[in-house]
Symmetry: C2
Subunit: 259 residues, 2 copies
Amino acid sequence: MRLTIIGSGNVATHVAAALKNAGHHIIQVYSRDAHNAALLAYHVKAEPVNDLNDINADTGLFIIAVNDDAIESIAQALAVHNVPMVHTSGATPLSVLQKYSQNCGVFYPLQTFSKTREVDFRTVPLCLEASNDAVYPLITSLARDISNNVYDISSEQRKVLHLAAVFANNFPNYLYYAAQQIVEQHQMNFDMLRPLILETAQKVQQIPPQQAQTGPAVRDDQKTMAAHLALLPQNGDMHTLYELLSQLIIKMDIGKRRD
Amino acid sequence: MRLTIIGSGNVATHVAAALKNAGHHIIQVYSRDAHNAALLAYHVKAEPVNDLNDINADTGLFIIAVNDDAIESIAQALAVHNVPMVHTSGATPLSVLQKYSQNCGVFYPLQTFSKTREVDFRTVPLCLEASNDAVYPLITSLARDISNNVYDISSEQRKVLHLAAVFANNFPNYLYYAAQQIVEQHQMNFDMLRPLILETAQKVQQIPPQQAQTGPAVRDDQKTMAAHLALLPQNGDMHTLYELLSQLIIKMDIGKRRD
């Protein structure tokens, strides 16, 4: 299928590569930055464009993978071509596209992407929403070509999912940072914590988090928690964070466990 | 080397298995619970004992892998045999053993263990501390037999490491739980978040957490944060947690990033 990628960031890059690898023809890559357009276009053997006036209307789908703030103005500019369009954003409702297009949808990959890291796209959950029965089979078929985990998700659900992703990704990553600060302040290396971080995430691939919860808080081990708090500056951010998260873990009430 | 395992929990099980696989001879496994002693003893071809009076003194090392609260009384009971002893606890100083034994040390594996999950022990950081120059080479040699990541860590540092492990393991796992609650309250499945959780941990195996940080907070995207907060019950725990962690991420001050 002939496809057009709008955007050249992490999501655009990984989605374009996955679709190209699945045998689709990426005809153009648009970015307002000519250099970025050229880089991704080269990678997926497409024509780079950095002017929306140069967009080729002979395509099956516009895939808008740009910053949330830019989605609406791009959709408005592309509407003239009367080509189906999807965006890839977790935080943007379908209605933003529906203002300008009848044939539209959402193609949201629930994963964190970096240009420098390979991701096995077949494992990436793809959350789909379509404005009508014409767009639905089109994007479902595309989604199944690149992922084994395709879900129908409404705009309302996707908003919740995007919030949950903050708890599953952004916040744990911050805690890794906090752990790094703690060890480095005592002349130890973050490398020491890396296997633990990985195993923590691997455990919940198979078991529910409740069952994987260990540590002083879930045992309500006040002595260890007091010793930990004594190591963190009084009234400091880490002290507050430790207290709050420990209280929440105690409230989980999943019974006493051993480490 | 002839070794004796005191304890039959997760740490005892994994340490015993790793030492056995490295060619050491586990002569006895002690647990006050005869059934647990028998299970682990069978697994590592040792004699099970559930009475400290049955401990065989013809051994090279007592490895005390029991609950923190029980370490001291066990050490006191074993001291009569005049055999070197180590404990495996992150939260217990060496001094607890030194009260009863001159030849003692710490053999702390910095990893989360479950009996039902295989862990590649060669990747597990092993944190060592020894009371003297006789014990040091003994436990260093044992540690290197089973792990590629052997560190000399003082009791003071180990306390800090144990705290950091709470930030790297217990707290992220709680956030996985919170994310699960959020999606399940909206008829979605935790499976959708599992690939994201795994990739988040895999990313920081190679890059520092600062560089991996994404999401609305690090972009100081107030609009998205407000939309997220509107989904969480006012004055509820998740609301408080979201606000605190977002504020801390904003303070990271690592520059604006794109998702």
